[in-house]
């Protein structure tokens, strides 16, 4: 009753009593830290601490068996550098990353250009195109495992039906070069959607007037693409390439599922070799050294790309 009397007396400016207590949302001093806190916690716990542990492991003599954590300097690095296994993996890492990124850049550009046009079923195609990216990669690679199977390979069957080969067909995952090629193919299949989506965003950020101006100025397809479109999507393409490169340099899921690094460790990359050495083989210190080997290079690549992207940025 007293409440009613009170509201009646202040009816002009209040319909319900004010909550006079400040909540955290009102305080600039606390809201920022409150919102960013979980992210920082996540990064520190799951990325920061493991990263610094790996840094120390790589200069220690620790194993998964535990116990020792003695400092051994750069001995792990000098040990691995001379092994053929490591050298193959290093070479494979670059082949894997560079080949797949070149193919991805070419295909995603073509796809993005095609998806810019208006046609029937464009929405469905965009959705289908995204599937390899959203499907769990393990399930995807298991399907690919069947496609590359030595006995039941649907690829071999198709080639046989087309009359291109006779007999058994290729051992897709059994021969070093074919196995590496297969790995690259699956990686391209998987990364293409993301690269295409990034490039599509780049394409749609170009005002339509610019394309119209190029058309009316007399530019044909190639001049239009190389002198107008490409320079304008270059900054965002570089970011896509940077993501792609770093992701490829550090990924091992496809290799783990498809070849387990085989045959005879010929398809190992640094990421998978680090896993097999450090986790499966138990030599945590050497595994950490392998994993961290490319870290300075990746850091430099990332820095370089971001600098270029920033310089070519068009506003």
């Amino acid at each position: 009753m007293s409440f009613r009397v009170q509201t009646a007396s202040t009816a002009n400016n209040l319909t319900r009593p004010l909550n006079r207590r400040m909540s955290i949302v009102d305080s600039e001093r606390w809201l920022g830290p409150f919102l960013i806190g979980p992210a920082i916690l996540y990064i520190v716990l799951l990325i920061g601490i493991p990263f610094f542990m790996a840094l120390y492991y790589s200069v220690s003599n620790t194993t998964t068996g535990g116990g020792t954590l003695g400092f051994v300097g750069l001995r792990n690095f000098s040990n691995i550098i001379d092994t053929p296994k490591f050298q193959t993996a290093l070479k494979n890492t670059f082949i894997f990353a560079l080949f797949s990124q070149v193919v991805i850049l070419l295909l995603s550009n073509a796809l993005a250009l095609a998806l810019q046009k208006d046609f029937r079923g464009k929405g469905l195609l965009r959705f289908l195109m995204l599937l390899p990216w959203v499907a769990p990669i393990s399930i995807g690679t298991i399907a690919w495992l069947w496609i590359f199977d030595s006995t039941y390979s649907v690829l071999n069957w198709t080639l046989r039906m087309l009359g291109l080969i006779q007999g058994q067909g290729f051992m897709w995952l059994g021969l070093p070069h074919l196995a590496m090629g297969s790995i690259i193919a699956v990686h391209v299949w998987r990364q293409l959607p993301l690269a295409t989506v990034i490039l599509l965003a780049g394409h749609s950020s170009i005002p339509k007037d610019i394309h119209d101006a190029a058309a009316v100025d007399g530019a044909g397809f190639w001049r239009h693409f190389f002198q107008v479109t490409l320079p304008l999507i270059l900054p965002i393409s570089l970011v896509a390439l940077l993501f792609g490169l770093i992701f490829t340099f550090t990924d091992m899921v496809i290799i783990y599922n498809l070849t387990r690094g085989g045959p005879y460790d010929t398809t190992q990359v640094l990421a998978s070799l680090a896993f097999y050495t450090g986790i499966a083989g138990g030599d945590l210190a050497e595994g950490a050294a392998i994993a961290l080997f490319l870290f300075p290079l990746l850091l430099a690549v990332a820095y370089g790309f971001l600098r270029i992207a920033h310089r070519t940025e068009i506003t």
Partner: protein, 343 residues
């Protein structure tokens, strides 16, 4: 040089009719302005002439040749966009040189040609700048130079002045017209700004809802509007339109003057006018108010030049007159112009 002709041109987007049967024929070297409120189809019509949109029906002719199936680059046109659409990654020089390179002009003559175009617009000193380092007015000149450089048969301009501030717009308008007169290229200019249209056009095409309401010189459009829409759309303040019986009576605010101040010697009609508000604009006075008598309570505006010094006070009745030759009549239902009626 060339003429542009549209024959029964239509454009449908699904159920939406953007342009509904437009017939136009420019004269050689003419400055033709497409004027209308937003959404009237003027830009769509221009984009069809440029070749960015395909007409749903009808024919487009440039220089007497059917161009419906030609891509923009084969139509010998140049266009200036509202946003200017300069290539942001290229310098001014490269922007202007782009159409020449696309034409495969030999490399040695490109710089000379670019300098010629740049000098026409006084932007020779900006050649090494990127578009983002230019002011709005400079960008507009670069866009014009780029359009001009390959000497097109037809110029298409889509509201090229709308991104400039008022002062710059007035001088750019003047320059644009002088320049068009000098080169004498047929020009089609789209705008929603009637002042721009009146000031620039040899003829004006007034459009509404995808159709042409009137084509005529600025004088014709202003003094002899073909229908009530044109009468309302052109002129600021617009023509006074009074509902009476089955017709609309129209007269311009500047022809509605206090009794005895008319310059002409012709017959006049007298209205009793109750002024409610006086707006002093320097060169003019605008009087807002309501009529009495046969047109009771209909709103009208009078525009008195500063040379008419009669003292006018709000909330007072005055006798105002309009020369009979300035009275326009429109059918109340079709809004089309009809012959004069006795009041």
């Amino acid at each position: 040089m060339a003429t542009v002709e549209t024959r029964g041109v239509k454009k449908h987007y699904g159920a939406v009719v953007a342009v509904n049967g437009v017939d136009l024929l420019t004269r050689d070297g003419e400055f033709l302005v497409l004027l209308g409120p937003s959404g009237c189809g003027k830009t769509t019509l221009l984009r069809m002439i440029a070749g960015f949109e395909t007409p749903t029906a009808g024919e487009l002719l440039i220089g007497g040749e059917r161009v419906n199936d030609l891509p923009p680059r084969a139509r010998k046109i140049a266009m200036v966009f509202q946003s200017y659409a300069l290539y942001p990654h290229m310098t001014v020089f490269k922007n202007i040189a782009f159409p020449l390179k696309a034409q495969r002009m030999d490399k040695a003559s490109i710089p000379k040609k670019v300098e010629w175009a740049a000098s026409l617009f006084g932007i020779g000193h900006l050649m090494e700048r990127k578009p983002r380092e230019l002011s709005g007015g400079e960008r507009q000149r670069v866009a014009l130079a780029r359009a001009l450089v390959r000497e097109p048969a037809v110029f298409l301009l889509d509201e090229p002045l709308s991104n400039l501030d008022a002062q710059l717009r007035a001088s750019a308008r003047d320059e644009l017209q002088q320049f068009q007169r000098r080169i004498g290229t047929t020009t089609i200019y789209v705008t929603h700004d009637q002042v721009e249209a009146m000031g620039l056009g040899d003829r004006i095409v007034v459009m509404k809802a995808g159709t042409v309401r009137q084509i005529g010189t600025p004088q014709e459009i202003y003094h002899e509007p073909a229908d009530a829409f044109v009468a309302r759309f052109v002129g600021s303040p617009p023509m006074n339109l009074l509902q009476h019986q089955n017709y609309l009576l129209g007269f311009r605010p500047e022809h509605f003057l206090p009794r005895g101040t008319q310059n002409g010697k012709g017959k006049v009609s007298t209205f009793s006018f109750r002024v409610t508000r006086v707006e002093y604009l320097g060169a003019d006075r605008l009087l807002y108010g309501l009529l009495n008598g046969a047109f009771a309570d209909q709103k009208v505006i009078a525009r008195l030049p500063s040379t008419v010094t009669v003292n006018i006070q709000p909330e007072t009745n005055y006798d105002f007159t309009v020369e009979d030759k300035e009275l326009k009549f429109f059918d109340a239902s079709t809004e089309l112009r009809i012959s004069a009626r006795p009041l």
